[in-house]
Point group: D2
Chain length 352, copies 4
């Protein structure tokens, strides 16, 4: 018996191939994906960001149906419609016991799919610790909606949760890709009084407003720091969110926050030896500016809570879906995402 | 020179009388109120909740125009349109330095208006520490809207902020008077995934939904704890908010939260020797249920942030205004509020 | 094959009996205890505090040697010298994912030993999730010392950690049994500037000073609240710790803290329908007094950190050991602990 | 009438000169210093770190006797023996209301002495907001001891308080000057289980052990990161404290902490355009490593709490005093401090 999987097979090489289907350990589940989303980090991976990989199934944003469970799984059974976070922590690890489940057993250790084991772009995918990492999708939440809990909502909202936004406070969100858009929405859901989104692409500027931005700053047209200072009477914002992963936006975040403010990073910084903290704007190390970071929180509780926000219509993430493909067209979808062509934000993959 | 003031003159006695206008100390301001709201706590005060008072001007929810400032005031000047919080802390007190400004110089010590000094229902009112306690009202925020920042929004939102609501979490709000309604809205602004409001009065049930409640539980018709457990798969809510001040609702809050949950109290508990914690539902003192309380946070920063939420249309509190009166009709307004007649929620007073 | 176990067999009935030794599931371990301590909660259990139990092995404070591990255990092997917390959480449960591991799968759900499964006073004991719940004992930490990490240090220190003690702040600890003594030491380890211990038993008063109390208040001789107020210039303490579990001490804690202060409960409240909050001293529900609770935090990380404090000589808990017994004398030890005779604080059991 | 003051008069220029004594505003006090300590930041200032200054009295670490108070001061009177923090915040500022008093009215805005107004190395010194910024010295605390609360204890302890050290956790403190030494002591007072001090100067290594370091790493002899990893089984520390202000030690802090750990900076970063975050060790911006900073917390409450730690003998900071001088010898003391000659740590100045 074999199954189709969309794999990376050496840096820069991708394709659909045949593989043995996975089998569950006692606490695990086998998931049959129904819908998926391609993530920019899949593209980074293929370009070698985490090193070379051979015959590694890509993908970490899917929902589906449980196909099989291990003997000790108690809360899920075949046929259940479920979502699984992109990050599937080892919940008994010391890092998870310490409140840092995404770092379980090493930095970024909760990131298993398409990193240290096969990802989810296949007919079947293996999920470690099913009781801890799966979540039932409520009846009135569609697969399409639920998909966004696995990474974009979890990551973007985490950016806002970590930003320590006071109710009525001011927030700047740098970059409005799908993570940035969800950070913008997250800031609204944390009670921000004024949200300033920094972005230059039209469609993304538009969605930023849909998701709660009060102002959109086009950094190609104006100086973003100057504009943020203008909007805040020269004070700077309470919180700045980095959702891109470049040195420039990182530095801008530090320049944009007020003394006592927070820089919350969720951008993946893939290149360069250093990130640079501008010494003076950082208050020579004494201005009480916190710099915090996160990796997409996973786990059953997290995904259930995000699904609840869909159930009660607090957010509609599907507006970010710009393209749709069948699974056998996934290579084309990947190509489009990789090149960021055609105004793509997120491409939806139908598995059946 | 004299001015009119609406005063309490002995328990149960109220009326408009003439008084000397106040004068500012070096750091203070004199405010000329333009609009006000009567608070249920004004009624409690008149009935003796904080003891007897003679010739004490009532009121603590007003906005107005600065009439005069002391010599050391730097950020406000006559003619400025401003709001002032119901609580006007001593910012250099040890409690304020400790993050508890409402408790400055003693329990509830930040509560000065109509408690330890004349309140705001007069032609002129004295504001201690103008730079610390006044806030400019933005041009596009009306006096009517701004009024709600002084107490209802600050208190109700604080209930939600203190409740430690996880994004996507579940919240029950007990009672939907104006503070409860703002707690409901506050829960939404903190990212709650499901909000259950407990209330029996029609108009309040309706407003609860306007302000974000996903379910309204009529405690006259069903058992609220049972209903909350049904809505949460028997788990209980992440947070329960007490916005009434009775032993019954306080106990219900403890029964409604899950282990690890938070009970956030903003109800004013005016009667009885004790509040009762049900021992078993409290997990025999080991279920990690936190019980936290607050008194309406005041101060310039707080009010500015709440005004910002009005400026960006995150909330419209004016829907709670059910009645309007001129200042010379204030006794009738007070009577209505005291008796909670005619479906009253908040009566608006026009000073001019 | 069979083993000896000290069991409860109906309310009030205890004795050594023969049992089948336990077997490990894939993630579990079998521990061969070498030393143990009897806990007052063992006595409560025998008296029916958690209901009737038949043939239930007692005990939850032991250290020992790993006898056997399940197939998926990776970090422990037979022969390892280890400690196991009294609480052995299900780390993938939603409560644990939420930071409340002691409440995993229900209120107090992490408490398994001598509650929902056999305890540790036997030749062999079963430990769920060995990688998550065992900790290696460092070479220079004795079994005797390490024993105290399993409950007394974890519980007592948690009381102090939860109390939100500012560095240099004031703390009152009500009752100086072994948990209270460790709460006193915990307060010192959290940087308290002044620690007031409330206790009447001589030996316990003495140990309170050993463990960091600056003042000892004998509630039989003076009014403890008055004395605490005297020591704090009438302000009250920043934090009060309840380490007994009575209504009286619980109320005293609320009376002892200042506005903005914290009451941290770790006492087990075994009796009565209610705990009573004195309404006025509680600031009518508005004085920002937090009431927080906990159940002995468990898990590998927690125990490793507590062992580290022994390794670096931050505390010597063995001073609390007042008596020693062989395992076949455990019934006498239990009797002594139950009756609190002979100045007993903690009786040490040698298993071999 | 005139007084002697030790001033900076242009970059690099210092000397004792005559000045008009200061006068108090209504909320202020005039202090007559009795003892003082020179701070390395006084040296930085003279070398131009905060720009040029003319005839600016230096110094911010003194204790003394109240000479005179303004009309509205209520808690202090002439003759009181008091300490005043190096940082004297404007407590009604928005930053202070937000919990960032050291940033009141701008980045580092609470730092007034020898920055935006005359410092304390004079016969008389002006203290803004006496009720908010002075603290009575308890009878059994000497002037010499109390001096250390004004900056060294407050700054060093803040480093530890901000480091989010779990009880029993591991901490590395980079540099053991007086701030680093107090950070080491602070880590002990926060319950650290293992403290690793990085320092090469003999006397400072010795004091590090006095103040709680379990290991001292001489970075001239071994690689500090490697050694820290060895001491922590390759995991890294829970918290790293930067107490020097160089790019090297800042980078080392990031390399030393584990995923989920905290870098707490109190070093004054006086030079260079940037501080550099090593991208990979920072977990590409996703390893949940927080970088936090602070400026010496001031204010009456803070100083009172630090004085309490002296009163109860939790720390003896006077071991850091290596030299003593009369006020008229202050230029020699300054020279010694500036050049870090003769093994100097802190020079004590006697004003009378």
């Amino acid at each position: 018996m074999s199954m189709n999987a969309f794999v990376m097979d050496g840096i820069g090489e991708t394709g659909i191939t045949e593989k043995e289907p996975p089998e569950p350990g006692p606490a695990d589940a086998i998931l049959k994906p129904t819908k998926g989303l391609i993530c920019t980090s899949d593209c980074h991976t293929v370009h070698g960001a985490i090193g070379d990989r051979e015959n590694l199934t890509l993908g970490h944003e899917v929902v589906g149906v449980v196909e099989e469970v291990g003997d000790s799984v108690s809360d899920f059974e075949p046929g259940d419609r479920v979502a699984v976070g992109a990050i599937t922590p080892d919940w008994n690890s010391k890092a998870a016991q310490d409140g840092h489940s995404s770092q379980s057993n090493g930095a970024l250790g909760g990131w298993k799919f398409a990193n240290v084991k096969d990802g989810t772009f296949a007919e079947y995918a293996h999920v470690n610790d099913a009781d801890g990492n799966l979540a039932h999708i409520p009846d009135d939440v569609s697969d399409h909606e639920a998909l966004y809990t696995t990474d974009m909502m979890s990551t973007g909202f985490a950016a806002a949760e970590n930003a320590d936004i006071p109710i009525g406070g001011t927030v700047a969100v740098f970059a409005q890709g799908p993570v940035g858009l969800m950070a913008t929405k997250g800031a609204e859901l944390q009670g921000a009084g004024e949200i300033i989104a920094v972005e230059t692409v039209d469609k993304r500027q538009e969605l930023a407003q849909t998701y709660g931005a009060d102002h959109v700053v086009d950094f190609q047209e104006v100086d973003p720091i100057e504009t943020i200072m203008d909007h805040t009477d020269g004070e700077g914002v309470d919180a700045a969110i980095e959702a891109l992963g470049t040195d420039q936006t990182f530095q801008d975040c530090i320049k944009a926050v007020k003394p006592g403010g927070t820089v919350s990073n969720v951008g993946y910084h893939g290149e360069g030896e250093f990130r640079h903290i501008p010494r003076e704007e950082w208050g020579v190390g004494m201005a009480e500016i916190d710099i915090v970071t996160d990796l997409c929180p996973g786990g059953r509780l997290r995904i259930e809570r995000l699904l609840r926000l869909l159930e009660t219509d607090r957010v509609d993430p599907t507006e970010m879906t710009t393209h749709e493909f069948e699974f056998d067209e996934i290579e084309a979808a990947f190509e489009l995402m990789d090149k960021k062509k055609d105004g793509i934000i997120k491409p939806l993959i139908h598995f059946e």
